[in-house]
Symmetry: C2
Subunit: 169 residues, 2 copies
């Protein structure tokens, strides 16, 4: 059983990872893998920077944890992530036998822990992680909202700049 204090520490560590993504202009999503109250894997979204469709926060954190334990089996591990995992990441969580997933914001577009579909509830699959969503929900929603607001602001400025340039021609 993970304590409330530990949950706070690890969720905030996931948010710190998300901040790393934000600083690179990536959609800010971060994750950590925990075993015995110790972080053994960290990751943030690097899809644009590395132009790799598989480089989500969760897959990177899982790969690091596998390397740390020298085992593809992450039994007894928890994953903390700032956004509900997509099907690829939920699948990686199942494949790596992670025990429990804690996530912040829900993803109505691609969430695979209940929002769009629930992969962990598919009976025929051979592992069924527990998942708890909505941790630090305001923070989880805010980091994404701010990121997309900033993008829209920049796009508006860019458009305005282009219009001004066109007017002076």
């Amino acid at each position: 059983m993970i304590s409330k204090e530990d949950k706070q520490i690890f969720m905030q560590a996931a948010f710190s990872e998300a901040e790393k993504a934000r600083q690179k202009d990536e959609v800010p999503i971060g994750a950590v893998v925990v075993k015995d109250s110790q972080i053994i894997g960290t990751g943030h979204n690097e899809r644009e920077e590395k132009q790799d469709a598989t480089l989500h926060a969760e897959t990177t954190a899982i790969r690091m944890a596998c390397e740390y334990l020298n085992s593809w089996r992450l039994e007894g591990c928890q994953l903390f992530v700032t956004l509900e995992p997509c099907p690829m990441c939920a699948g990686a969580i199942i494949n790596s036998r992670i025990e429990t997933v804690y996530y912040s914001a829900f993803d109505p577009k691609a969430g695979a822990c209940g929002s769009v579909l629930d992969l962990f509830a598919v009976e025929k699959l051979n592992h069924h992680p527990r998942a708890y969503g909505g941790l630090y929900l305001d923070q989880g929603k805010q980091i994404l909202k701010t990121f997309f607001q900033d993008i829209r602001k920049r796009q508006k400025l860019l458009k305005k700049g282009r219009k001004n340039n066109a007017d002076t021609l």
Copy 2:
């Protein structure tokens, strides 16, 4: 439209990848990613060798193709794989915008293109690859059957050896 000859060539290239896995004592699964009738990514199962839960044939082939194109978007690409993709790999196929998946054997335990669930048919997700299963089905079933038969034979011999050793003590 991909020709029958090309389908044969690329599916056999996926089987050659599966053979690489078999030679390393991994469950023999192989994949290739194709664009404009050219292989731009190859991969085989390396889960045990590298102790990494994410290293399936498909994810490796997808990552190589992303690197080749310097783009996470594999639009207009096909993926050929010897076994029906699991949820993680079907998710990676969706995330990378692969157009069409051709696979050989069906996977009643974890197949995410129709056998256990059909991720490509989930309406809310933002990409819906086409999938065709059962290509070179006998070959696809046989390579897996032989692999697991060999494992069982070796386990039997090991057990027999242990019993003989115990008898001579």
